[in-house]
């Protein structure tokens, strides 16, 4: 990272190649769409590039990178929401989506976390998909370790509720 700040092209390439797959997983796990995740990855790198001077040598790199990535995700979400709202006003309301996928015993991860609040989904993704520690997630999200633990715990509780046996949770019968 320090060599990236010093404009070392080779070090920059290595850094991008090492961090991009992780960042991509961070976006893809929450968005579900690979195309959107790649667009957001590009946005994240442009933002990282613009604020690279804010990194200080000796500080942990991953929380710094993820703090920027989550900021890009939030900005993008707001932008998309504005566009969707405008489109809804301009056009007729869309027809309800038709459920085409079969309900399996355990649904895929992206479908599972889609029901979680954004903050819980984000914490769970950083912890489980990106493998960050509690301390790193706390720094990246500008919160305390206790708050991260609480969000992760609540996320697990909600996921378990979604996967409850027939009658207890929603959509339990195929």
């Amino acid at each position: 990272m320090v060599r990236y700040q010093q404009a070392d092209a080779a070090a920059t390439t290595v850094l991008i190649e090492q961090l991009s797959p992780q960042l991509y997983r961070f976006f893809a796990a929450q968005l579900g769409s690979p195309e959107d995740a790649q667009d957001m990855l590009q946005d994240a790198w442009l933002r990282i590039h613009r604020v690279r001077h804010t990194y200080r040598a000796g500080e942990p790199l991953l929380p710094w990178v993820y703090a920027i990535a989550r900021c890009v995700r939030v900005d993008n979400y707001r932008k998309r929401r504005r566009i969707v709202t405008r489109e809804l006003v301009m056009e007729t309301l869309p027809e309800p989506a038709i459920q085409t996928e079969e309900v399996t015993d355990l649904p895929p991860f992206s479908q599972l976390v889609a029901d979680l609040p954004a903050s819980q989904r984000e914490v769970l993704t950083m912890l489980k998909v990106n493998g960050l520690s509690l301390e790193e997630v706390a720094r990246a999200t500008s919160s305390s370790v206790g708050s991260v633990k609480q969000k992760a715990h609540r996320a697990y509780q909600r996921l378990r509720a979604v996967l409850q046996p027939s009658g207890a949770g929603k959509g339990t019968e195929a």
Partner: protein, 238 residues
């Protein structure tokens, strides 16, 4: 198909086993070339101590300049032995917390950025409560006029302070511009409030709340709005 009870272990395994589509190689190359095309050396941000020093220096300088521009320290002298430490210790505590929060907000992933700002807001509310307790209401014939004069004087010192803070903040504050603006505005307003507490001899509790303490609130709001527009655009990719 009926779903069965899912254990914590199964849930974690499900998350661990999650497979995501791979990242397209051409997109990665595109990112690399975009970044490398604009590659030039940058100077890393200075240490937190340097920025805390800069904010404290500006704050103190504004208070000193006010003593040259406004003759006398009527406010300081009018305060009782109880009021003086309560007011000025609170101002120092709020100022230190806001400066610390501001410095932490300048770089991504710094610890306790929001907590410090919230704590500073808490101390400000305590100051408000303390003012209500230790100052007495008094009848004033020109309450509105006097309040406006003091408010204007407070803003006269707060605005240049905010501009100087903006210059210091220019290289940072990339992630939460609105919060940073509110914090910087609050700190600049606090400089205006300090000047008023040094110079204004009016000890009417309503006057202090309406024309002195409101400088901080108005500056924080103005900073929030201004920074949301300017700093957001500065760091945005779009």
């Amino acid at each position: 198909m009926n779903r069965r009870e899912v254990t914590q272990g199964e849930l974690e395994h499900l998350i661990d086993a999650q497979e995501l589509p791979p990242l397209a190689a051409d997109r990665l190359k595109q990112i690399e070339s975009a970044v490398i095309a604009d590659l030039r050396p940058v100077r890393p941000m200075a240490s937190d101590a340097v920025y805390v020093g800069a904010f404290a220096g500006i704050f103190i300088a504004v208070c000193i300049v006010s003593c040259y521009l406004i003759a006398g320290r009527d406010g300081w002298e009018a305060l009782s032995n109880l009021q003086r430490p309560v007011v000025f210790v609170s101002l120092i505590a709020i100022g230190s917390l806001l400066a610390l929060s501001l410095v932490r907000q300048m770089r991504p992933a710094a610890k306790y950025t929001r907590t410090t700002a919230v704590f500073a807001a808490g101390v400000f509310i305590l100051l408000l409560a303390a003012v209500a307790l230790i100052f007495q209401p008094k009848q004033e014939t020109a309450f509105a006029h006097d309040s406006l004069v003091c408010f204007r004087a407070g803003m006269m010192f707060a605005i240049p302070t905010a501009i100087l803070f903006g210059i210091v903040l220019w290289r940072g504050a990339a992630l939460s511009p609105a919060l940073t603006g509110a914090t910087a505005g609050g700190l600049a307003g606090l400089a205006g409030l300090t000047v008023l507490e040094i110079h204004c001899p009016n000890m009417n509790v309503y006057h202090i709340v309406v024309s002195h303490l409101s400088v901080v609130v108005v500056c924080a709001l103005a900073g929030f709005i201004f920074s949301s527009v300017t700093f957001s655009r500065r760091w945005s990719n779009h």
